[in-house]
Amino acid sequence: MRKGTNNNLEEKKPVRREDLSFWQKAYIPEIVKGLGLTLKQIFKPKFTRQYPEERWEPTGAFRGRPVLVTENGVERCVACGLCARVCPALAIFVQAEETSLEKERHPAVFEIDMLRCIFCGFCEEACPEEAIVMSKDYEVVFTDRRDSIYGKDKLLVPMEQLKERLEFLHRYR
């Protein structure tokens, strides 16, 4: 009976890792090993990026602040309002206006509230003209809440500066 229970216990024994050896229990050799490891780390290259001086250049896949594309100084936007419609954060406001240019329509007012924007990129996906794209700009800074609404003056960006993003969109969308 007793033997039986014993066997039973042995079967249920949890898996146990190897016991520590005497030298491991003596702490000091192990501590010296650890000290060696940390000393080695001191001389290894550091991961820190010294931000204001060393900036990170995102790739084309990065979704930064949404901007309006201009082609030879003319904006592509025809003020259809799809971006404003799709925007889940209701950050975009568009007011259309007629122009004498080829496209006949353009936004008189185009505003993105950067406090509302969630950088989801839906506006870019919805846009039929590829007129609003996500830029690489991740430094969205203002010191007053009223400055958070970016108008056309801040939104219009020449196409040449958005090359990588446009190429990315052509290749993967």
């Binding site: 000091i28 501590i31 940390t38 780390q41 001191i42 550091k46 010294q50």
Partner: protein
């Protein structure tokens, strides 16, 4: 007599100035070394490579509001950091940082007080240091502070035994309680670290426990006890505890250097036939260098070893350190008796 007092005052000002400046920079060095060990850069913005960081830190602490809990015992709450810093700074009074020199026809001991019971003085002060921590925890009227201070008293009392017992070995070798004699006895390579390796290890470990440095920083144990004994301290009172902790670290390093690393001894310096003034300078420099190395070791260990559990700490203290120190003391006694 007036001359004596003047000399003592100059020595106090110089030593305290160096100690306080070192403490400020120690915080910076600690943060930098920690960062480097963790593959970061650490504070490097204030001034070139961040060397003005300590002043920024101190200024910040000075201008912070001093918040005292309503239920705290105000008097003791104010007193505790003062006790801590006083005790920490007092240790430097007996540390010899150079050989006796003759200046303007006067013998000057390069230690603030060349007392003949230096070892006892240091042991006494290290016991007193517990009061600052215990009283701070108790007077804060906060359970975490109290737990921290209780732990610290238990820890310090446990490790004081091995601290004292390891020193008996040194005492037997030297035959004097005067620290200057302890250093003089370690002439050449006869440093106590080589003659008393076990005593050195037990003393070093006990020093870590006495200064509440990382493998034994249970009184603070920030993941468990918020901030330990100084949870309820802010502003410059917290800064004073901080200062005391780092001063203790320098003091412990200086004590370890004096007892085991030959103090200001530079092996066989007198055989080089240098002018007296150079010998003195090299001796002081070698003392400072040794202290710096020990301090670096303290920091290095902190960022290497994780904290002990409380029962592990007590086991190590009573079942390993204490018997080891006792055996070392007895062994030394036998050897000294046998060799006459």
């Amino acid at each position: 007599m007036a001359m004596e007092i003047l000399i003592a005052l100059i020595k106090i000002i110089v030593v305290m100035g160096i100690v306080l400046l070192t403490v400020a920079y120690l915080v910076y060095v600690e943060r930098r070394v920690a960062a480097f060990i963790q593959n970061r850069l650490g504070p490097n913005r204030v001034g070139p490579q961040g060397i003005f960081q300590p002043f920024a830190d101190v200024l910040k602490l000075l201008f912070k509001e001093d918040i005292v809990p309503k239920a705290a015992n105000r008097t003791i709450h104010d007193l505790a950091p003062i006790i801590s810093i006083t005790v920490a700074l007092s240790v430097f009074a007996v540390i010899p940082f150079g050989n006796t020199i003759s200046l303007f026809g006067k013998e000057i001991h390069l230690s603030i007080a060349n007392v003949d019971i230096g070892i006892l003085y240091i042991l006494g002060l290290s016991s007193l240091g517990v009061y600052g921590i215990t009283l701070s925890g108790w007077s804060s009227n906060n359970k975490y502070s109290l737990l921290g201070s209780l732990r610290s008293s238990a820890q310090m009392i446990s490790y004081e035994l091995s601290l004292g017992l390891s020193l008996i070995g040194v005492l037997l070798m030297t035959g004097s309680l005067r620290l200057q004699d302890v250093v003089v006895a370690q002439y050449g390579w006869r440093w106590n670290i080589f003659l008393q390796p076990i005593g050195f290890i037990t003393f070093l470990v006990a020093s870590f426990a006495e200064t509440n440095r990382l493998p034994f920083d249970l009184p603070e144990a920030e993941p468990e006890l918020v901030g330990g004994y100084h949870t309820e301290y802010s502003g410059i009172k917290f800064g004073t505890f901080f200062l005391a902790e780092y001063t203790n670290m320098i003091a412990a390093s200086a004590v370890v250097t004096t007892f085991y690393l030959g103090g200001w001894q530079f092996p066989y310096l007198d055989r080089l036939g240098l002018p007296v003034i150079w010998i003195s300078i090299i001796q002081v420099m070698s003392f400072l260098l040794k202290v710096a190395v020990v301090i670096f070791f303290f920091i290095w260990v902190r960022w290497t070893i994780p904290r002990f559990r409380y029962d592990q700490l007590m086991n190590l203290g009573w079942k390993v350190m204490f018997p080891l120190a006792l055996a070392n003391a007895l062994g030394t006694a036998f050897v000294v008796a046998a060799l006459g």
